[in-house]
Structure formats: structure tokens, C-alpha cells
């Protein structure tokens, strides 16, 4: 039996959790481990349980364990892990899976520690089922590590956007089983005391855009985005940025595209000054046409793109804008 931790998203389960479910279903089929179980921790928005049940049914989940307790009103990794461990024990799960999100990695690190077993973070493939051997991203995705589990259950997270979420051939009607987790005071010490920034969700514009203008380190500074925003505007598109751009504080996190950001699938993706790390490709690989603008003809962004312009984005983009304005006039 394989147990998958499901994280809440905008509408029901997060996209990354659906990827993890698809990955787990593939593993369950090849390792012949029987039906898929899911675990959800904490309260859901009123009336949303049915959305989860129908989504998880699409993924072929047989049983949804829903951990509920007044003490789960705000997030604490230890309390979430205690709930997952209880579900693991109750189901005698052989594999515990989550998505490789910050939450997924944090909770499963607690789970693996509590169970005193190994954990594999950011898994992209199963190499063997006996003993379970997986390939996972190391060196920031530039290399893979083949890792074998010699402890049970196997605890692993699935690298974001490395698996395409797909519906099961046989949809199910998951049975919802309430779970009352055993929580200690220590599990509640490190819980969220408050949230500061108002949760504004701007990512919908990005994930649905027909044109995304991507921006990376090559932009050079927080002040360097005007021409890129202008290009996005001329094409009726939006700006998306690489992780380094948000890390440096040049643009807000909700604009981030890639493994730890949004996944986009526009008709055209224009990558400006982006080197093209594997984590970034995870967010853009389903774009129909990819155009790279980069000074380095050997950058992975350029060699893997469909089209490229070699040059400084601060010269190329203004020229494109001018040409567009001329033709649109």
C-alpha cells in the first residue's frame, strides 16, 4: 500500500499533489502494492471535501484519510507529520509519498525522522522496485542520484512538475476515513503564530497566459524590467521570472516559474537572460514555442530552445518592442 500526502491548492488538491498521486499510482502498479491511499491533514474550506473526493477518485485513490483536530487549525510540521505517521501505521504503508514542495519536504523529513528511516527528496523516477531504487535530483537538478531504500517504509518526495498529472484508467470513489491523530504538546511548539502578507493569488494570470515573457539573472537589477513588461503588454502576455530573480528580491514570488513556482503552458515563452537550469525547465517545458534571448550561445536555455537570439536582452527587447509597435500601428 502506498500513502500519499495531499496538500491543499486553489481548487482542491494542489497541482503538485496531483503529480505526486500520478507518480505514486505508477509505482503502485509496477510494484504491485495494491490500492492507493491519500492523507489530508487539517480543516478544509466548508463544502470543499467533495471536490477533493472527486479529484482523488480521478487519481484512483481508494481511501482518503482525513486527519482532523482543533489543534490542527494552524500549520505545524510536527503535528502534520504525527498525522501522517498515524495514517502510515494504521495502513501499514510500504511507501509514503508527498510532492517536493517546501511543505512536502518539511513534513516528510519529520515523518522519516520519527520512523527512523531514510527519505529521498525530489525523486524523478523509479529505477527498481526490489529493493526500491529511485533517481532523485541532486546538485540543484544538474545531476541525479540513484538511491536504494534499505529501510521501510520508503519515504520520498516527488520533484515538482517532473511528472505530468494524469487521470487513472479506472476512476474510483474514495472512501473518506476520519483520522484522530495522536498529538503531543511538543508537536505544537513550532506552529504558525500568524501570517503577515495578505494572501493574494496572482498566479492564475501566469498559468493561463498565452504569452509569458520570462526574466532571469541577465536582467541585472530590479530596475531592469520595464522593457520586458512592455513586451508582455504588447503581446497581451504576462511576466514570469526565474528563482534567482525572486531570491534577489527583484520581483515578487508569485511571478516565479519553475519547480518551486508556477508551471506555465503558453503558446510562446520568451526567455530573457535565463540560463535555463533544470528547475526552470520544469515550469516551461509544455510551452508550444520557446524563444531564448541570451548573450551566451551555450546556455542550456539557448541550446534547448526552439529559437534563439544571441545578444543582450537590454538591446534586443527594446528593438522587438519598437518593431511590434510599428507593425501594430
Amino acid at each position: 500500500m502506498i500513502l500519499v500526502l495531499v496538500e491543499p491548492g486553489r481548487e482542491g488538491a494542489a497541482e503538485t499533489s496531483q503529480e505526486a498521486l500520478t507518480f505514486a499510482r505508477g509505482l503502485a502498479e509496477s510494484a504491485n502494492t495494491g490500492p492507493l491511499h491519500a492523507v489530508l491533514v487539517g480543516p478544509l474550506p466548508p463544502g470543499s471535501e467533495s471536490a477533493y473526493v472527486s479529484q482523488l477518485g480521478q487519481q484512483g485513490v481508494a481511501v482518503l484519510h482525513h486527519a482532523q483536530d482543533d489543534l490542527l487549525s494552524s500549520y505545524s510540521a510536527a503535528a502534520w507529520a504525527a498525522s501522517v505517521v498515524d495514517a502510515t501505521t494504521a495502513t501499514a504503508a510500504l511507501v509514503v509519498v508527498a510532492s517536493g514542495t517546501p511543505r512536502g519536504n518539511e513534513i516528510l523529513a519529520h515523518v522519516a525522522t520519527r520512523l527512523d528511516v531514510r527519505m529521498a527528496a525530489n525523486v524523478v523516477a523509479v529505477d527498481d522496485v526490489s529493493p526500491l531504487t529511485v533517481s532523485r535530483q541532486v546538485m540543484g537538478g544538474a545531476a541525479l542520484e540513484e538511491m536504494a531504500f534499505d529501510t521501510s517504509p520508503a519515504v520520498l518526495t516527488v520533484a515538482g512538475h517532473a511528472t505530468e498529472p494524469a487521470a487513472a484508467a479506472q476512476p474510483t470513489s474514495p472512501e473518506v476515513v476520519p483520522l484522530a491523530p495522536t498529538l503531543s504538546d511538543a508537536d505544537l511548539v513550532a506552529r504558525v503564530a500568524r501570517s503577515e502578507a495578505a494572501p493574494v493569488d496572482h498566479t492564475a494570470a501566469l498559468t493561463g497566459a498565452r504569452v509569458v515573457v520570462g526574466a532571469g539573472r541577465g536582467v541585472g537589477s530590479a530596475e531592469g524590467f520595464d522593457e520586458l513588461l512592455e513586451l508582455a503588454k504588447l503581446l497581451g502576455g504576462v511576466l514570469g521570472v526565474s528563482r534567482v530573480v525572486t531570491s534577489l528580491g527583484w520581483r515578487p514570488h508569485h511571478e516565479q516559474v519553475g519547480q518551486t513556482g508556477s508551471r506555465v503552458s503558453p503558446d510562446v515563452y520568451i526567455a530573457c537572460g535565463i540560463s535555463g537550469a533544470i528547475q526552470h525547465w520544469a515550469g516551461i517545458s509544455s510551452a508550444k514555442t520557446i524563444l531564448a534571448i541570451n548573450t551566451d550561445p551555450d546556455a542550456p536555455m539557448v541550446t534547448k530552445a526552439h529559437y534563439a537570439v544571441i545578444g543582450d536582452l537590454h538591446e534586443v527587447v527594446p528593438a522587438i518592442n519598437e518593431e511590434l509597435r510599428r507593425r501594430l500601428a
Binding site: 511543505r103 523529513a109 502576455g237 537570439v309
Partner: protein
Amino acid sequence: MTNVLVCIKRVPETSGQILLSEDSQTIDARHVGYTVSPHEECAVELAIQVAKATGGEATVLTVGSSDALAQLRDAIAVGCTGAVLVEAPVDSLGPADVAAAITTVVQDHEAAGSAYELVLVGNDAADTGDFQVGVRLAYRLGRPVVTGVSTVEVSGQTVVARGDGPDGTEVFELPLPAVVAVQEGGIEPRYPSIPGRMKAKRTPVEMRVSEVEPVGSGRVRLKLPPQQPSNVEILGEGAAAAPAVVDLLVRAGVVSR
């Protein structure tokens, strides 16, 4: 007064071309050099800030080869006042082993009268990306832990940690002693000064040898992802390529006229 222990790891530069060793067990970094991950540079900066603000000391620790002295000296040069090197064959250690090695140091120092109220680690190592050392360390020490933290402040016996959650910035308030795993992005690490570099050469480093019986990482081997042949069509160079770009955008149907 808060004494802080900050744990760093010497890792190969990840930006260049990756080469594997002949036995595929490790990265051959002879031509690219070594560094400390951005997460840990930020952790060092936060350790120094907390120590300064509370009148405590920031001590830097690494588990690895003696070559990691260079990375410890970099941390001393920016303001850490003590350093510990736990010599161990780092490629044969897993995250549980590293946590065990750090635990021994924390407990030994506490027994000798210098306790660390706050232990900072990087959120995930730039090379192995395990996401576990901070959590495993916290359970061994019996302390609360938060990961993915971008800033920390200590106020009395409480550490206030902020990080990005799914619904905006989340604030955690943990009683000390605690463990915090730091993610880059909340602060700008400082650069070493010339006097800092001089001091780093003179500051003694406590050298230890790991006595942990390693459980290892489960690594079978490393491999490189398959290289796809490039099919890129170069539209041109510099501003002169603009008409060809617009032609492409028209063909793709994203220019309305």
C-alpha cells in the same frame, strides 16, 4: 545573550558543467572549485546578526574534509568568533549521520559550559539536496524546528522566524533552545573585510574526528541527466534580429495584426 551555532557545508560549484568521478560516487570538482550554498551564507549572516544583537557569540561548524577549513575561515572573516571542523568522509555520510555528528558537538560544548540556544543550518545542501539535517538534528536534541526560514530575530527567550508559506509570509515564535533551517532571500550576506580576513587566519579552529558509525545515504551512484541534441534555430544577433522575432510571433499567432 544568545549563542548561535551555524552549520555550513563545503559543496562543489553547481553553476558550471558537472563532472562525475570515475566510480560515479561523487562529483569531480577539481576544475570548478568549492563554495558554500547561498542558504548557508544567509544562515551565517543571521547567526552574526543574532549574536551581535544579543551580546552572544556565533560559532561556525562543518562536517567534512579538512579542506573545509577554507569555508570555516570565510565565515570567521565575516564575524563568527569560533569554529569547529568535524572531520568525516562526507560522501559516505547521510543526513542522519551529519545530524548525529552535529549533535555530539552541541552536547559536548554544552557539557563544557557553552550551550547554543540557537542552531542554524541551511534548508538543503546545494549538492545532496536532502532537506533533512535540520529536522533530524532537532529531534536528536529534543528541540523545536522550523525550515524554509528567511529571517530570524531573538527577543528574550523566543526566536521569531519568518518564511514564505503557501498563503504569504508565515511567522513562527519558538521558545529557545531551537533549530532553524534557513533559506536564502531574506537578507544580504556581508562581504569579509581585510581585518576580518586577517582575524580568520589567527582564530583557532577546534578540530575533531567524527565518531559516528555512519548509516550512509543509500546512494547507489550518481548519473548525469541525458543530453538532448540541440535543435535551436538562431534568428540572429542583437537588435538586428527584431524583425525575425516579430515574424515568429506572428506565425505563432500571438500578434493580433
